[in-house]
């Protein structure tokens, strides 16, 4: 039984070779679904009314729930990050639960570390950009905390703080990667080991846990942690 990420081709850019993997295919599929949904919403938006119903209800529920989530996690001053994290939330959620449809037989993009680390690195960059933007030199000084005698930067602690900062994207990416990959492997083992007649009904519970529950939970955890780190980086000492 092979759980490797399969390659379907490659793109050569000069001397570099980029593999086109299962993750790309699944990502494009997820992107396609989301873009189609967005186009439909954009077309129907002209007919949206004050009292929502049907598709409008669903769309408003999504956006409003996410805005409330963003406000609770990071605060209203980070609404400008809403577009990025809305996309991250949507793409990670859909990627995590895409395995619930066995007919499509797509491997969740989030079961590829290169995908999760990409999102985690964006979070890492945002943490430091926003930290410097909101706190300026104070944010750089915070790498030397706690200060000696309350005011002298502690050079010895800088490496530890640096490792702590670098650990954030690594832990973020591996947490989601590990959880989704474990679900993928377990589901693969189940389908590979049991007789055909047991592949109906019973997997529903496994999919409900490994794909739906774990997928939603991991999406929530990833987004909440990202927003919390960003919010903490911008928080001034008051």
């Amino acid at each position: 039984m092979n759980f490797d990420i399969q390659n379907f081709g490659s793109i050569k850019i000069g001397s570099l070779e980029l593999w086109i993997t299962q993750t790309h295919i699944a990502t494009w599929f997820v992107m396609g679904i989301l873009i189609c949904f967005a186009v439909v919403v954009r077309i129907k938006m002209n007919k949206f009314k004050d009292v929502p119903k049907g598709l409008q209800n669903v769309v408003e529920l999504m956006v409003e729930t996410f805005n409330n989530f963003l406000k609770d996690s990071a605060g209203e001053k980070f609404f400008f990050l809403g577009s990025w994290f809305f996309t991250v939330f949507a793409v990670v959620l859909l990627s995590n639960i895409i395995g619930i449809v066995p007919i499509i037989a797509l491997r969740a993009p989030t079961a590829d570390w290169s995908f999760t680390v990409t999102l985690a690195m964006v979070t890492f960059l945002l943490i430091h950009i926003i930290g410097v933007r909101y706190r300026g030199f104070g944010y750089v000084k915070s790498m030397f905390e706690p200060f000696l005698f309350g005011k002298i930067p502690n050079l010895i602690l800088f490496p530890l703080n640096l490792v702590g900062e670098l650990a954030r994207p690594i832990s973020l990416s591996f947490r989601m990667f590990g959880n989704v990959l474990s679900g993928t492997i377990l589901m693969g083992l189940f389908y590979g080991m049991v007789p055909v007649f047991l592949r109906f009904f019973i997997p529903s519970f496994l999919h409900a846990y490994f794909d739906l529950f774990s997928g939603v939970l991991q999406t929530y955890v990833f987004t909440v942690l990202s927003l919390s780190f960003i919010s903490a980086a911008a928080a001034t000492e008051e």
Partner: protein
């Protein structure tokens, strides 16, 4: 110079995890994909819907504020009308009191006038009675005189002397007057 070639020949075998240049390239491609998706979703879905909801919220808030203003104005008008109603009630009471007082005065005046008129009528009636009484008395005197004359005639006829006639006449008159006045 970059040379982009899509090929399926000599594919590397798949892998589960790696920390190399390929991982960086993969991450770059994923960043491109998700970044592109973020731009599209932001342009088509997230921002338009959020703006629409914000505008609707502001519009509803304005409507609520307007309704609150209107309610406050209505409250003020209601208070004003109630004050006017109270004033009207007071004015009504004043008018009714004045009318009642006027009616009482008029009634009293009418009663006084009626009493005066009744008194006048009574006085006139008394006068009439007096006049009738005198008229009746003079009629009676006349009748008595006639009767006396008749009696005298008869007595004369019976050959009475003058003294006896006068005595008789006086006694008769005295008796007549005494009985008439007593009755």
């Amino acid at each position: 110079m970059f040379d982009i070639v899509l090929t399926a020949e000599g594919l590397s075998p798949g892998r589960l995890f790696g920390l190399d240049q390929q991982t960086l390239l993969q991450a770059g491609s994923h960043l491109l994909n998700v970044g592109l998706l973020a731009i599209v979703l932001s342009w088509l879905l997230y921002k338009p819907v959020r703006n629409m909801m914000q505008k609707r919220t502001e519009r509803i808030r304005d409507q609520l504020d307007h309704a609150a203003d209107e309610l406050a104005k209505a409250g003020e008008l209601k208070a004003l009308y109630e004050q006017k109603l109270r004033d009207i009630e007071k004015e009504k009471d004043v008018i009714i009191d004045a009318a009642r007082k006027q009616a009482t005065d008029t009634g009293r005046r009418l009663v006084e006038e009626a009493k005066e008129e009744a008194e006048t009528v009574k006085t006139r009636a008394h006068a009439n009675v007096e006049m009738e009484w005198e008229h009746a008395q003079s009629g009676m005197k006349q009748a008595i005189l006639e009767v006396s004359a008749a009696m005298a005639g008869k007595m004369v006829a019976a050959a009475l002397n003058k003294e006896a006639q006068e005595k008789l006449f006086d006694e008769t008159m005295a008796e007549l007057e005494g009985t008439s006045w007593r009755s």
